[in-house]
Amino acid sequence: MSAPALKEGRVSAATLPASRMKMTADSSGRKAWAPYLQVAPLTLVLLLFFAIPVALVVVVSFFRYQMLVGLVPDFTFKNYVDILTNPTNWSLYLSTFKFTIIVLAITFVLGFWISYFLVFHVRNLMTAIALFLICTVPFWTSNIIRMISWRPVLGREGLINQALQGMGVTAQPLDWLLYSDFSVIVAYVHLYTLFMIVPIFNSMARIDKSLLEAAVDGGASRWGVVWNVVLPLSKTGIALGSLFVVTLVMGDFSVVTVMSGGLSGSVTSGMFNDLQFLNYPRAAANAVILLIVVLLIAVAIFRLVDVRKELVR
């Protein structure tokens, strides 16, 4: 796999010592500033399109909102007081948390066992990779389209209701299949399980299979191996996957809006409404609160598992 060209021996032995000395001197001199140059474009983009905008959102959240004028520079806590004293916002947070926990639980169970199946049960590596790709391809297609595609399946005259009535299981079409909490959760699981499978699969694929054999030889049960060997060794993937799923669900408004038919909302859909009335300061204050909540969850996950060490090593 590595360096097939080296075998061809393109470099003559005579030039070796000189070029080698030059190389080492050169590369040690280069090391000092090269990484800064290499990371500069990334840093620039992140500053310009992440750090500064977030800082400005914080600033604007203390501004005043005036009809027709919009933003008025000020230093007021009114927006925050507005949000925190409004019971609607609390119930929005509550419902978002509810969705987050349910979706996290379902995607974790699915993600863990599907990865486990691919890594430890499928014996042919090429088959495993092919099956893995089958799971990941929808990730690269449009989320909105994938969401809408549930309509002809779950709707009143949809496939499931047609099938149930056709088989005589139900006399009336089931109304709770679409535009309900149920359809919202279905769509979340449909969209976000990938984010759980990919990192967990990655972690599991790195587990040395001989560890499992050793555990079995040591008398561990099948369940014991999963619980005491596989689960702890895939915790980076689980942490990363949870981070994705939690932040995606917390920050979502399109799935909730479309799949609940406007019946449920999320924290972000509250923001969405403010924005439509051009009330930027209150939307910004709402954004800051949401950001703090999301960051706290992220920090908690990073505390549990040192994701960075595992990634960069």
Partner: protein, 276 residues
């Protein structure tokens, strides 16, 4: 299975294989039903059965009389995705190499990238719009929306590069230098072959994440919609299978891109294993 047999498969295999199959049906079933229903006939029914299959709803898409400006949105989304892809590859790949060395601020940049990845898209959208306002600039798909997309694709690209470069042990390069290879030879013959499939993966992510991005585009594209925004407005306005037809078209574009990316990775792998 043609491979060495390890004896009888445990019962858990069959349970998990069933779970996996059901999951795949769950994943693809709805998409396939939309694909089929986009060929619905003039009855304009949004549900099965399919009556008098026709291409009329595709025709509707490209004749923007009733639906919005789909061709125009496509002509913005495609270049935006391509530019995002190119910049993501260049910036994420070089940054990935930076992280192989110790440098001051590495932790800060890393956490900034992670934060940029997990920040709710709408929050960032507000931020970028407000920034543009402060600077007196107007939002446009090729300025603010491009930046918004990069703030999402770059961290993904960086994570992929971490995974890829984890397999590139510095000892390979040292060995190459020890054998007298120049830096260019080392990059071309040692580093690039190992890293190239990863670069294609970064490109794939850069393209598709941008092409399908909705929340980060919402406030940042300005007055002219990109395709996901056009679809979003259609979900509320359009109650005809034209919506399904649009879904089919965008999904086909995505699939072409995925096939190109995976195909070229496969080709490279094959050529490499053939040459050595």
């Amino acid at each position: 299975m043609a491979l060495p047999s390890y004896g009888k498969r445990p019962w858990t295999f069959y349970v998990l294989a069933t779970l996996f199959t059901l999951f795949v049906i769950f994943l693809y079933g709805p998409m396939i039903s939309v694909l089929i229903l986009s060929f619905q006939g003039p009855s304009a029914a949004l549900n099965f059965p399919l009556r008098d299959p026709s291409l009329m709803w595709f025709d509707e898409l490209f004749n923007p009389r009733r639906v919005g400006d789909v061709p125009g949105a496509f002509r913005r989304s495609l270049p935006l995705a391509l530019i995002t892809m190119l910049l993501t590859v260049v910036i994420a790949v070089t940054a990935g190499f930076a992280f192989r060395h110790r440098f001051r601020g590495a932790t800060l940049v890393f956490y900034m990238a992670i934060a940029s990845l997990i920040i709710p898209g709408l929050v960032l959208s507000i931020g970028i719009l407000v920034t543009a306002r402060f600077l007196g600039l107007s939002a446009n798909w090729y300025t603010t929306a491009l930046g918004a997309h990069l703030s999402w694709t770059l961290p993904f690209g960086l994570l992929i590069m971490f995974a890829v470069l984890g397999r590139l042990s510095p000892s390979y390069e040292e060995a190459s230098y020890d054998l007298g290879a120049t830096r260019w030879q080392t990059v071309k013959d040692v580093v690039l072959p190992i890293v190239f499939p990863g670069i294609i993966a970064v490109a794939l992510f850069g393209f598709t994440l941008s092409y399908d991005e909705f929340p980060r585009s919402w406030l940042t594209v300005g007055t002219l919609n990109t395709l996901p925004l056009e679809i979003w407005t259609m979900t509320t306005n359009v109650t005809s299978p034209a919506l399904y037809a649009l879904g089919t078209v965008t999904t086909i574009v995505s699939f072409i891109v995925i096939a190109l990316a995976l195909g070229s990775i496969l080709l490279i792998q094959r050529r490499r294993s053939g040459s050595s």
